[in-house]
């Protein structure tokens, strides 16, 4: 265990671009036995399809015309500089942007072929199928148990709740740390534990797709590693979309990577999708200079 953590901490610290390029063809393979980055096969069906998605906040055109497919049981990573619209796009997938009064989405996002923005679609039902883990851990000010049980309770889960809570916490690699204090406040947990609790809460409702907006940005390397391991396990069953600023993380955990960038025109900073491909290609053989500059750290 200590050995493995050692290796990973080491690899997390490798922010130098040269190392990345050297480590081809599958750079993650040389670091960790758990390689997932690489060339995924096309056998997984497309579960979500973004076509010409434009996002606006009031008059501000935040994201310009994004089109990309997201495949079942894969991890799709969104990378790109701050403010390029990664959060905006990921939030539009489960209609969290509906909650921002000024936000507006144009274009289509289909889920199993159904347009999520068609009239009559209930965003609540969408979010039950497409769950979300937020950038900042945001547990409810309630007990650990109630945090996990809330989702299943409102969706009228009829099975054994204790068992579901235990299963969800176990899958989020948190059970051993909290099993003796399930009725304690979730706020008494550390930041990393709170984030894993939020993951447990998100998977307790058994969503189809799990959206994670920088789930590890506030975590130390060890907690980050645990969340990455968790993602590897979760993708056996779920489809995962993750936003990350950590190149190594994207390389380690994702099957496909979307690189976003920002264009400045007429004083507006509009984000756009530059390149979308399988992760190995993005990191070893990107088609655009912009992508290469970004992942090798020469950006800006």
């Amino acid at each position: 265990m200590a050995d493995r953590i050692g290796t990973t901490v080491d690899s997390v610290d490798h922010t130098r671009p040269e190392t990345l390029e050297d480590a081809s063809p599958s750079l993650a393979a040389t670091r960790s036995p758990r390689v997932t980055g690489g060339t995924p096969s096309d056998e997984h069906a497309v579960i979500l399809e973004l076509s010409d998605v434009n996002a606006y906040y009031g008059d501000f055109h935040a994201v310009d015309s994004v089109s990309l497919p997201i495949r079942e049981k894969e991890v799709t990573a969104f990378i790109g500089p701050s403010g390029c619209g990664k959060s905006t796009v990921i939030r539009s997938i489960n209609r969290m942007n509906d909650l921002i009064p000024t936000a507006r989405i144009e274009g289509a996002i289909t889920y199993h072929g159904v347009d999520l923005y068609a009239p009559g679609v209930d965003p609540v039902e969408v979010r039950r199928r497409i769950g979300m883990v937020f950038q900042k851990p945001n547990p409810f000010p309630k007990s650990i148990y109630d945090n996990v049980a809330f989702g299943p309770k409102i969706s009228k889960y009829s099975g054994d709740m204790d068992e579901l809570v235990e299963r969800s916490l176990t899958r989020a690699a948190l059970w051993d740390e909290v099993k003796d204090k399930l009725s304690d406040s979730a706020y008494a947990l550390s930041g990393g534990q709170q984030q894993r609790l939020c993951i447990a809460r998100a998977i307790a409702t058994s969503p189809d797709v799990l959206l994670m907006d920088e789930p590890a940005s506030a975590l130390d390397p060890i907690a980050t590693l645990r969340i990455e391991e968790l993602m590897y396990e979760l993708k056996q069953e779920y489809t995962i979309v993750i936003v990350t600023h950590n190149m190594q993380q994207a390389a380690r955990v994702s099957d496909r990577t979307a690189f976003f960038s920002v264009d400045v025109k007429e004083g507006q900073r509009t984000g756009r999708l530059v390149e979308f491909a399988d992760t190995a290609t993005i990191f070893t053989n990107p088609q655009h200079d912009e992508t290469e500059d970004y992942i090798t750290g020469r950006f800006g």
């Binding site: 969290m96 039902e125 945001n138 809330f150 989702g151």
Partner: protein, 319 residues
């Protein structure tokens, strides 16, 4: 080489020390602190003098009469007159305020904060509510006289007073504190972080589930504290009651009256008792009984404030 480095380090240390430490207290800031302290002490002294004066005037009444002063009803005889009638009237008014203003106010706050779109109409309503909170209480008395008294009479609860009873008084007081309940509740709801709402929606909760399971419980300490404090306000108000016909003289509630007769008959309230006694020509009423009634009133108000603090600590301390 080494000594040069050491010298440089020493120079840096001295410069940093000079920059981050100051020599003794600064005169200006000391004077300012003393001024603030003096102002604080002054307001305390005025308050304390007032309380001491009232307490010393009230003391003989409590010493001689004991609990009978609190438990006796109104009377023309200063030796037997008590504040019980006023306490009962005030409690009934407070009760009506609680059951009317609390649900209506909280519901209005939920609507304004969670449902209403952020447009000009909503902002207009919001501003109006804030302005209403600043309207002098006597204006609410006129409103009560013009609307609530006839309405109470109209629905058959006029009784012997033709609607100028404790029911109309309670409704008027509820209208008086309603804007304050709305404002404090809306503030409490607004202070619930959006991340909690996101978390609720993120697991597929409906808007009402998010509000009822997460927003309201988090806002509850603020809502309850605000509401209890507005009850205290309703308890202490006098002017609107005088306008809508509270009894300022003496009356004896019929001993065998039914509950309905009592609710619809003449009534008085604690601050009104203070008001009418202090106007009596009999010295005993103005000089000793009125201060004693003030002590009872203040005790109730302090108790309500203490209850509000206790309630906030209790509901807040949960997590």
């Amino acid at each position: 080489m080494t000594t040069a480095a050491t010298r440089r380090e020493e120079a840096t240390r001295a410069a940093v020390e000079k920059a981050i430490t100051h020599g003794g207290p600064k005169l200006g800031s000391l004077a300012f602190r003393l001024l603030l302290l003096a102002l604080l002490v002054m307001s305390f002294v005025i308050l304390a003098a007032l309380l001491a004066d009232i307490a010393s005037s009230a003391w003989p009444t409590f010493a001689e009469r004991g609990p009978s002063f609190v438990m006796n009803g109104l009377s023309l005889n200063p030796a037997t007159a008590g504040v019980w009638t006023g306490i009962v009237g005030s409690l009934i008014i407070a009760f009506i305020v609680a059951i009317l203003a609390f649900p209506v106010g909280v519901a209005a706050a939920i609507y304004l904060e969670e449902y209403a779109p952020d447009n000009r109409r909503t902002r207009f309503v919001d501003t109006t509510v804030r302005n209403l909170a600043g309207v002098p209480s006597i204006v609410y008395g006129l409103l009560g006289l013009a609307i609530f008294v006839p309405v109470v009479r109209g629905i058959g609860l006029g009784g012997s007073t033709g609607g100028k009873n404790v029911i109309a008084a309670g409704i008027t007081m509820a209208a008086l504190v309603l804007p304050i309940v709305i404002i404090t509740s809306a503030e409490a709801i607004r202070s619930v972080p959006n991340s909690i709402r996101d978390a609720g929606y993120g697991v597929g909760a409906t808007q009402w589930e998010v509000i009822s399971s997460h927003v309201l419980p988090s806002a509850l300490p603020g809502i309850l504290t605000g509401t209890v404090l507005t009850l205290a306000r309703a308890f202490g108000e006098t002017a609107p009651l005088l306008v809508i016909g509270v009894a300022t003289g003496f009356f004896s509630p019929a001993g065998d009256a039914t509950l309905l007769d009592q609710l619809t008959g003449p009534y008085t309230a604690l601050p009104v008792v203070v008001f009418s006694w202090s106007r009596q020509t009999q010295a005993a009423f103005a000089d000793t009984l009125a201060p004693a009634a003030i002590v009872v009133l203040l005790t109730v108000l302090f108790a309500l404030n203490g209850f509000a603090i206790w309630l906030r600590n209790r509901t807040e301390g949960r997590w």
